[in-house]
Subunit: 332 residues, 2 copies
């Protein structure tokens, strides 16, 4: 028994070194997986909030890592490291612009289809029209719809829109849903993230083939709006969507909205089957942000954007134009 305790100096030296290293490793593991560093696999470095933040909830689905994060009283929802949704003023502004402009351009606004409506905020805006009879809100993402319907902070933000009697929520791929539907709509809002190499299948929702299907499901005098991402960093992205819509037989009006806080100039396209003049668009309801004065800015394209007008390319199921543009601009 005594022999066991006769350790030579080298062994004690190693033991001392090992004790320090072990303590450090345990400390790091705690920091990384339970403590302050544990956000790192849920929040991409460049998407980290600038101020203090607190992760409220983390969950992992077969395809997604979701994190709910409190950022100084706002709620940000991360999907695979990127901000997917947030209860911020910017999100409000974006929703007002993408909803109220096609609503203004459409002859009737009875039936509305929203593709990518998981957060419920575009649905909230569309519900403000008394004439609206039904809204179909499609999202491929069951977890986002689940949060939009059940998470207190989100329900408060979207005013419970996803549980409104006029609203039907559908968990489906937007393209398959439209393809297999016999319905037609007055207004269609396509509010989707950019196709990236992480999610190239999104490309199918930006193609000539899909836009042809949308046309078939649009009532006469109806209007479509399509979110076109960050037009200041990728003007070709917006113009390629515009060119593709034209190829599908639509009349188009590009518009944009400069987000003062984030410095992003968001692009959008309004598409109609009957001609519409930008000057004839009149808002049907008043909003805090989207006033008649702001509408003039929104419908007026700055020169840096106009300058790219001829650079758009047609995206088809075979030719993933947008994926290349995003890759060039963002590197993924």
């Amino acid at each position: 028994m005594i022999g066991v305790f006769i350790l030579n100096e080298l062994l004690w030296l190693t033991l001392g070194a090992a004790a320090v290293l072990l303590t450090e490793i345990l400390g790091w593991l705690y920091w990384r997986y339970l403590g302050k560093g544990s956000f790192k696999s849920f929040i991409n470095k460049n998407q980290k909030p600038e101020g203090p933040f607190k992760i409220i909830h983390k969950s992992q689905t077969p395809t997604q890592k979701i994190a709910l994060v409190d950022v100084e009283g706002e709620m940000w929802i991360y999907s695979n490291g990127e901000v997917m949704f947030s209860t911020t003023k910017e999100e409000d502004e974006y929703a007002e612009v993408i909803v109220h402009i096609p609503m203004a351009a459409a002859k009737s606004v009875k039936n509305v289809l929203i593709i990518g409506g998981g957060g419920g905020i575009t649905t909230r805006e569309a519900l403000r029209y008394e004439e609206v009879e039904s809204i179909t809100s499609v999202d491929i993402d069951d977890i986002m719809l689940h949060y939009g319907k059940n998470l207190d902070r989100l329900v408060e933000f979207n005013k419970g829109s996803l549980s409104h009697r006029k609203v039907r929520t559908v968990i489906a791929d937007g393209r398959s849903y439209v393809e297999n539907s016999l319905e037609t709509w007055d207004v269609i809002i396509v509010d989707l993230p950019e196709p990236t190499s992480k999610c190239p299948s999104l490309s199918r929702l930006f193609t000539l083939q899909f836009y042809n299907q949308l046309r078939d499901h649009l009532n006469p005098g109806g209007a479509i709006s399509i979110g076109c991402s960050t037009s200041n960093w990728m003007p070709e992205y917006m113009w390629s969507i515009e060119t593709t819509l034209k190829e599908a037989g639509f009349f188009t009006i590009p518009f944009h909205h400069f987000s003062v806080n984030t410095g992003v100039d968001w692009g959008y396209i309004l598409a109609t089957t009957l001609p519409v003049e930008a000057g004839d668009i009149e808002l049907k309801i008043a909003s805090d942000f989207l006033t008649e004065e702001r509408l003039q800015d929104i419908l007026h394209l700055p020169y840096y954007l106009m300058n790219w007008e001829d650079e758009g390319k047609v995206q088809t199921d075979e030719n993933k134009v947008l994926l290349e543009i995003v890759k060039e601009a963002y590197g993924y």
Copy 2:
């Protein structure tokens, strides 16, 4: 002698622990002061380039920590952690806008004063006018003028403007220089950083008293342009400069320039002693960036900016309005 080497187990244990800690501390010191971490006291965290970068030169003056940084072929110059100057397209655009608009509005462009001209790029733009006879480029910062004159990469960028025979460089506080000068100028360009708590003395170059002095040193029919920082984040900053200029008896035309890559909407004020209509401003020379089409965007204020028109306050030597605005927006 032998007794010295009889160390007990505890001592060896401590020695092992100490060896690990010492190695780590030395490693950290190397990383922090010689290796990759050594930039940390020269580059603020939020000003770190996104891609790879290499520090070419670091120097410390009594008041400044200067770092010259290569960012993928561009040269960025940091002063106390903030980017002071860079050989980028954005800097070119900014210089074109702040120079060519007062040059267009002024009746004559023979004598030009540039306050804050250390980098030499505004001087480069002003030298493009054949009619220009003299340019006085004042900078409080001898090191910036030194770099602007001697650093190959900068001299290449500013085309040696600071050593041009028509150019006189002066190391002085802009306000004292104007106060003590008997000269008058046709065009005055004030291109200064915002006053912050780190450098509150800059406030003196944005006051009613200073603008009165500028008016006294402006030839009849002359024009002044003043850089007004990030108008999207601090619209009150721009309008306070505008209000102060009006109080000093100037006619004013605010203008702005959206930097597509950085998402910043830069604000400027054009000030004249005779009335000028925005619609009457015609560029005297053509530039790559500043075309007639872009000029229309630049002279047209978006609604979000117009909306703040009445929020400007007069800055005086006694009342440091801008310092408060910057503090509110940036926190320092």
